[in-house]
Symmetry: none
DNA sequence: AATGAATGAGAGTTCATTCAT
DNA sequence: AATGAATGAACTCTCATTCAT
């Protein structure tokens, strides 16, 4: 049985998005060249425009890809307090294993100032992230895995800030991000045992 | 005594750097155009190249400017624990009063992956920052303003991570950064009173 | 009897020619896009190339269509002098009712400088037109509807020039073409009564 | 004495306009390529954009050039009836000596449907032309060079229509335009002797 | 110290055309 | 008879940089 027709062209689309994703990570929006994206996939530049009429529409597709990529780290595993620990580790690991994601997210974050469609989506994702964290903290407290004070918007915000900082290369270097994360775990954990 | 002749051209140099600084903040490296920088200052593009032979050299000057701008927030005021508090507030206020600085620093942080000279300088600044924080924590603990556990590389790293996250626009929106900072102060403060 | 299979594809061919005809009228050769022509008919661009291997061949078909469209106005009705009057009015009405034809003919006239096949056909049509006018004038004079001087190549040429000018949009605006035509009729008519 | 500075760059501007003018005449708007225009002048394409930010602005300059070129034929010489004769001949000669002008004017006339700025200017020029013709006819009649009926908007319109038709290549070929013009002169002249 | 003019290299985008299905 | 996918060649426009003055 041949692959469904739709699947064929979807594949090319995805290849292009992935190539753009990698190039943004490597060179920033500053260095994103449609011709290079097409070249990496091995197609003519006109083919890229067959799938994405404008560079901007390609960027939007990369935005979607990055967001869906990131949202996988929010998927729950284990008890609430385990989920919390897992989430911190999952984000950390994702940043180390797929450093492109961090770069792209930071690039998008910076671009969001000038691009409302990015700002809207990013804001939504962050709101969702906060809500998830908030809920996780509440359940972990209820479960007894954390002490009462940990159930606050401030703690959720601090977790998010720390993880967000890790998207910037300076924080990944010299262990800086890891140190911060471990301290966060320590405080969450110490507190829970206090 | 009249200003030295050299001072006149220094002024022009600084005007150009400031204009570039503002434009990077506003449009990112992606949107930085030497012609616009020259235009903002009111000089011909060739004049800009008289002061900065290449775009890269202009960017380097902006890097220096941003770093020196940031380092002012590290200047000590008051007792160690007061200095710590002041530092958090100073960085926060700086980000709100001069949002350009945050944007430019984040832009530089992203660019550092591709530009070794930026990476080196940024790394040095962060190392200095960490050392300063570490020293501040030690003195604050010694002074009795913080409890012993606060004296750690982890806490220094967490402070830095949180403040770094605030350079990204997403964290400034919706109060996210402030919530994180207040939580950080709470933990530092709670601990100090424990 | 069902329509022959060939008739089906003939229909498509004609649809494409008509769409191209309309688009040339609307946007000129400058703005003629094969994709838009195909789009207007609702078929794929590759389908257009099934009927017309090249853009040039499509244009040639439009040329044929425009010429045959125009030649209908030369069909005789009534007495020679009535035919003359009718012809002037028929061309004028055609230009007002189907302004596409004027535009397309003017576009073709301009293109004829660069395209010999157009020039040949256009020249033939104009020669035929002149011959027809000439004959009409002769018969109208013989019939007594016009005085002798009207029977000349000059008068035929002047009629053709005036009608040709009406293919240009500037002449259609502000009544300019109509004024000219009426004057032409007046002179022809006045003379006839002299 | 060196040429005034301004004159130097004006010269380049004019060279570019003239080159564009020639190319529009030769290939139509359809075939107008900024690179070829620059090439004909012997400068880089970027230099063309230094003088004309967009292709459109270049076309507008060509429009101005063509109009001013045409308006020279309206300059008066001799008595009113002589001026009239001279004008007909001047336009005819201009079309033969500088066939580019006819082509460009016809191209502009066609483009005016889609481009309001062209339409406005062309309309103004034609209005001025009509007024001038009208005045000329009146004075020629008063002077006794033409009989009374020649003083009408219709005659003015017919003259303009005939001359306008001569901008189209088909009318220049095979003597068609000349025949029409001579007939026009005959009618105007015959009448004057009547 | 400053500029107008010029440029090479390359950017994103368009378009007629082709081909396997 | 018709199409989705692909392409080569070209298009207008941009930008950092240079140079004579």
């Amino acid at each position: 049985m041949p692959p469904a027709k739709r699947a064929v062209s979807e594949k090319r689309r995805e290849e292009l998005v992935l190539a753009a994703y990698r190039q943004i990570a490597e060179r920033g929006f500053e260095g994103l060249r449609t011709r290079d994206v097409a070249g990496e996939v091995g197609v003519n530049i006109a083919t890229l425009h067959y799938y994405f009429p404008t560079k901007e529409s390609l960027i939007r597709a990369v935005l979607d890809h990055a967001m869906s990529r990131f949202l996988t780290t929010l998927e729950p595993h284990g008890s609430p307090s385990a989920q919390l620990r897992n989430h911190l580790r999952a984000v950390r690991n994702l940043m180390l294993e797929e450093p492109e994601l961090g770069s792209v997210m930071a690039e998008l974050a910076l671009r969001s100032v000038r691009d409302e469609s990015i700002r809207t989506i990013l804001d939504d994702v962050y709101d969702g992230w906060h809500t998830t964290m908030r809920g996780l903290l509440r359940r972990a407290v209820k479960e007894g895995g954390l002490r009462r004070e940990a159930e606050s918007d401030g703690v959720a915000a601090l977790i998010i800030a720390t993880l967000t900082a890790m998207t910037l290369p300076v924080m990944l270097d010299a262990n800086r991000g890891d140190q911060a994360l471990r301290q966060l775990e320590r405080w969450l954990g110490t507190v829970s045992s206090g």
